[in-house]
Amino acid sequence: MKFKTLDRRVIYLFVFLALSWPLLKGFSIKPARMKSADKFYEIVDQTKSEPNKFAFISFDFGPSTKAENGPQAEVVVEHLMRRRVPVVLFTQYIQADPFLKSIPLKIKAALEAEMPGQKWIYGKDWINLGFRPGSGLLIQSIPKSTNLADLFGVDAFSTPLKEFALFKKPKTLKNISLLGQFTGLVGLFDSYVQFFQTTDYKPVFGHGCTSITIPEAYIYLDSGQLQGLQEGIAGAAWYSKRLTDAYPNRKPDNAILINTGLGIAHLLLIFLIILGNITGLISRSKGG
C-alpha cells in the first residue's frame, strides 16, 4: 500500500512536469469549445469601427492572476486592434498598471510584424488611462459624466485627453460601444454590473474571470447582464483559436500552450482522485 502514503513531493513533481512539459516542448492540442467565449468573440467581432465610438477595457488583475487574465485581455485587445476599434484602457487595481503599458505594445509589435506597412499608433488606436483610484464611486461617476475627458483629465503619461482626436468632442457612456473587464476580484466586477449603465443605455459587456470565479460569473451571463464570458485560461485558449481561424497569418500565442499544460494537470488530478479512492476502498475493505 505504498500509494496510501504517497509523498506529496512526488505529487508536486508530477504537477510540475505536467505543467512545464507542454511549455518547454511547445506541445499544444486544440482547446475544448467554450460557448461563453464564443459569445465574447461574437460581440467583439460585431463591434464596428465607428468615429466617436470606442471600447472601454479594464485590466483589474495583478501578477497573481496574470496567467489567466493576461491571455484573456490580450486576445480581446488584439481582436479590437485588428478591427481598428479604438481601445481605452483603464484599471482600478494598482498592480495592473504595468500591463496597461506592456500588453498593447506587445500586440502592436505582433500586428505590425504580421502586416508590414500597417501601423497602430498610441492616441489613435489605443489610449492608456492608467490606474485610477476611487473604486465603485469612480465607476458610478462614469455614466453620470457629461464629458469623460473632464472626468479623467489626462492619460497615464499626463497628456490631456482633449489633445487626442477621440476626445476632442465631449464623450459620454453612450460613446462606449463595448465594455471589457478582466479580473479575479469579484467585488470589482460587481461594481461594473451594477453601475456601468444609464437608464437608457448600457454598453455590450464581456468579462474575463479566473477559474475560481466561473460559477459566480455564470449567473450574470444567464441573466443577460453579461453578453460574453471568458472562463479562465480555457476561455482565452478557445478565443485565441477563433482568432487564428479568422486571421490565418496570426502567430499562435501562449494561451493554447498553457491550456494544454493545465489540461494535463487536470488529467493528473482526476487520475489521483481515482487512485486515492481505490486505495481508500482497499484500505477500508481490509479494515484499515
Binding site: 504517497l6 506529496r8 505529487i11 508536486y12 504537477v15 510540475f16 505543467l19 492540442i29 486544440k30 482547446p31 475544448a32 469549445r33 467554450m34 460557448k35 495583478g62 501578477p63 497573481s64 492572476t65 496574470k66 496567467a67 498592480q95 504595468p98 483610484p133 476611487g134 464611486l137 458610478q140 461617476s141 453620470k144 472626468l151 503619461f157 499626463s158 497628456t159 490631456p160 489633445e163 466561473i214 460559477p215 459566480e216 455564470y218 449567473i219 444567464d222 472562463e231 479562465g232 480555457a234 491550456n259 494544454t260 493545465l262 489540461g263 494535463i264 494537470a265 487536470h266 488529467l267 493528473l268 488530478l269 482526476i270 489521483l272 482522485i273 487512485l275 486515492g276 479512492n277 481508500g280
Partner: protein, 352 residues
C-alpha cells in the same frame, strides 16, 4: 452615549443618507425642490476617501515598523524574517519612488512645451478678440520667443545626450521639428520686431510646431528613461521579483489542490459521490482531452454550470445581499457597537 459616539453616529447617518439619496433620486432635482445635483461632489468625496486610505497606509507602515522593529531589537523568534521584510519594504519604497520621480520628469518636458504652445494660442486668441492684458501684445510675444528659444536649446542638449542607439525615426523627427520650431520662432521674431501691430498668423505656426516637437521630445525622454539605471532597478524589483513571486504564490494553489484532491476527495456518501462526478465532468469538459472520452462532455459541463450551479450561486448571492443590506442598515443607524461605544461600566472604547 458619549459625545464622540453621538458625533460618529450623526456623521455615519448623514454619509449614508447622502449615498442613499444619490442612488434613489434623479441626477438633478426639479427647480421647485431646489435643483440640487446629486453626484456633483462625488469626485471631491472620492478624493477624500483616497486621502483617508493614504492615512490608513501610513498607519499600516508605522505599525509594521513598530511590530517588526521591536522583534528585531529584542531578537524575538523570527527576527530574521522581520529583517527581510523591512529591507524589502524600504528597498521597494526607494526604487518605486525613484521610478515615479523619473517618470514624472519624462512628462515634465513635453508638458512644458505644450504649455508654451497653449500660451502662443492664448496670445493669438486674445489678439483676435482684442482682450486687454497686463503686458502689451509685443511684450508677451517677446516672452514667448525667449521661452521657445530655451526649449530649442534644451532639446538640442538632450538630443546630444542620447546614445547612438536612439531609434533613427525619433532622432530624425526631433531634428526636423527642432529646425521647424526654430524657423517659425525666427519668423515670429522678425515680424514682431518689424511690424507695429503684433503678428497673429505666425503665432499659430509656432504653436503647431511646438506641439509636433512635444511628441518627439516625449519619445526622446521616454527613451532616455527606459535606458536609465532607475528604470533597470525598478524593472528588476517589479518585473523580475514582484511579478514572478506574486504568480508563484497563486500557482502554489494548483499544487496544493492536486495534493489535497488525492488525499481528501474520497467517496464516503451519495452526496460526495455526486460531487465527484460533477467535478470530473466539469474538469473533463473544459480540457482539450475531452475528445478522447466523450464529445458531449462540454455540453454536460455547460448544463451543470448554467442550471444546478447557477441556481445554487444565485441563492448564495441573494442570501449574501440580504445579509449585506441588514449589516448596512445596522451600520447606517450605528446599531453596531463602535470603538467609542460605552460598556456597562461607562468606559469608552470597550467592546460589548
Amino acid at each position: 452615549m458619549n459625545w464622540k459616539a453621538r458625533l460618529l453616529a450623526t456623521l455615519t447617518f448623514l454619509g449614508g443618507l447622502y449615498y442613499f439619496l444619490d442612488f434613489v433620486l434623479p441626477a438633478k432635482l426639479p427647480d421647485s425642490l431646489g435643483g440640487y445635483e446629486f453626484g456633483k461632489y462625488n469626485q471631491e468625496i472620492s478624493r477624500g476617501f483616497i486621502a483617508i486610505g493614504s492615512v490608513a497606509f501610513a498607519l499600516g507602515l508605522i505599525n509594521i515598523f513598530y511590530i517588526h522593529g521591536a522583534r528585531i531589537i529584542f531578537r524575538k523568534k523570527g527576527f530574521l524574517n522581520s529583517i527581510a521584510l523591512l529591507i524589502s519594504l524600504v528597498a521597494m519604497v526607494i526604487f518605486t519612488t525613484n521610478e515615479w520621480l523619473a517618470f514624472e520628469q519624462v512628462n515634465k518636458y513635453a508638458e512644458n512645451i505644450r504649455n508654451i504652445a497653449a500660451y502662443s494660442r492664448q496670445i493669438q486668441s486674445d489678439l483676435k478678440e482684442k482682450k486687454e492684458s497686463t503686458r502689451s501684445p509685443n511684450a508677451r510675444i517677446e516672452l514667448l520667443i525667449a521661452e521657445t528659444e530655451k526649449i530649442i536649446k534644451d532639446s538640442e542638449a538632450s538630443l546630444s545626450e542620447a546614445k547612438s542607439d536612439l531609434p533613427h525615426i525619433v532622432r530624425d523627427g526631433l531634428i526636423q521639428n527642432i529646425k521647424l520650431v526654430s524657423k517659425e520662432n525666427n519668423l515670429l521674431k522678425i515680424k514682431n520686431e518689424s511690424e507695429v501691430a503684433a503678428p497673429i498668423k505666425p503665432l499659430d505656426s509656432v504653436a503647431t510646431a511646438l506641439i509636433k516637437l512635444s511628441g518627439d521630445r516625449q519619445q526622446l525622454e521616454e527613451y532616455l528613461y527606459k535606458s536609465s539605471t532607475t528604470k533597470a532597478l525598478y524593472d528588476f524589483v517589479y518585473d523580475g521579483l514582484f511579478v514572478p513571486l506574486g504568480a508563484a504564490m497563486f500557482s502554489l494553489l494548483g499544487f496544493y489542490i492536486i495534493s489535497a484532491g488525492y488525499r481528501a476527495f474520497r467517496i464516503r456518501s451519495i452526496e460526495s459521490g455526486l460531487m465527484m462526478i460533477a467535478a470530473v465532468i466539469v474538469m473533463l469538459g473544459q480540457i482539450p482531452f475531452y475528445i478522447y472520452v466523450s464529445e458531449v462532455l462540454p455540453d454536460l459541463r455547460l448544463w451543470l454550470l448554467e442550471y444546478p450551479s447557477a441556481a445554487a450561486f444565485r441563492a448564495i448571492k441573494f442570501g449574501a445581499a440580504i445579509a449585506g443590506l441588514y449589516m448596512a442598515i445596522r451600520m447606517w443607524f450605528s446599531i453596531e457597537t463602535s470603538s467609542f461605544a460605552e460598556d456597562n461600566s461607562g468606559k469608552a472604547g470597550a467592546n460589548k
